[in-house]
Symmetry: C2
Subunit: 208 residues, 2 copies
């Protein structure tokens, strides 16, 4: 990435390296929080994976709390993109898009040996011990995912795939409540089966 | 509790006090793990709540890992009793028993300000950072709860409340997958609504 002029006289290379290192911290932080949650994620582990000396952390983030908030933001944006890749895919029917999203998640969890779950679910579970500001942030992320899912279900309704009187907003909330439970259980059992059982149950409700 | 003879010459009072203190540690430990999980539960917090000096912990439990295993065991036994209180209640129909279990859980979470969730769910979420021996233990607890629930659903089938071809074992698994997700979300949102949404969705599947 180049910029037309150097800001505050900081050398261009150092600037690039600063933002690259910050990105690396975010990337590694997201991976570790997706696996272990916030409480077990040692800052030392993240810093050493990116070769950042311990004392330099506050050069990149003003506080650990802020670092966590950035990780939630980034994961939310990444995951919204992933949801859209499936739910806006015009090549298949709306309900098939949501089904394919669940199948892809199964493949994704298997690829990481069922160690990685959902960063938002992990932090939600840990809320009793996390900064209270995360609560609204995590809750908004679920609302955003639900809105995208409800829109897809509305499409399924228009396409005649689900009942005309289905409450798509409620069904989308049901989906995310149960899906997070399924991800948790898939991690515990180290198996895709809980994801499949929940998805089958959910699609039985919407298609009844 | 009295014993007919003193074992190993330990004074009776001291013996009673030892088991009472051990019970207190288990009781406080369960409450804290139900709220915050294992990782955020400081041993110091538990010990000071019971007035046990830090150095005395290993007098009561051989290790922190063993303490955690005892807490899982105890919670599982307590919760199996709670499930049975509802699911074996001959005063109402089998499906009504399960519905009443979900309503009671709503009331229970509200009573604790939606801070306390499920100890087994909390630890399941944290498995990425917990002793691997807990995995089988937690997984067995879910299997036990599922077996009790499947039995109740079989009763509902016999009573004609659900379809004769319903797969009760699968439905019981679906219940516990989604219910744990609902408890997680109820804690995050500090509201009973996720519990209600999942319960309504689940009963819509079984009664269809």
């Amino acid at each position: 990435m180049t910029t037309p002029s150097r800001r505050r006289g900081r050398p261009l290379k150092a600037h690039a390296s600063f933002s690259q290192t910050r990105e690396d911290l975010i990337r590694v932080g997201m991976a570790i929080l997706t696996e272990k949650g916030f409480l077990a994620a040692g800052l030392d582990e993240i810093l050493s994976a990116v070769n950042v000396p311990k004392g330099s952390f506050y050069h990149y983030f003003e506080s650990k709390e802020r670092f966590g908030a950035v990780l939630i933001e980034r994961y939310a944006a990444y995951f919204a993109g992933r949801i859209d890749r499936f739910l806006l895919n015009a090549e298949c029917s709306p309900l098939e898009r949501l089904k394919e999203f669940t199948r892809d998640a199964e493949r994704g969890m298997a690829r990481h040996g069922f160690r990685r779950g959902c960063l938002v679910g992990n932090l939600g579970q840990e809320m009793g011990a996390l900064p209270d500001g995360y609560r609204r942030q995590l809750s908004s992320v679920f609302k955003d995912w639900e809105a995208r899912t409800a829109k897809c279900l509305e499409g399924a309704k228009d396409a005649g795939e689900i009942a005309v009187d289905a409450d798509c907003k409620q069904l989308a909330t049901l989906f995310w409540i149960g899906w997070e439970g399924a991800v948790l259980r898939a991690k515990l059992e180290q198996s895709a089966k809980p994801l499949r059982i929940f998805a089958d149950g959910f699609f039985a409700v919407v298609q009844k």
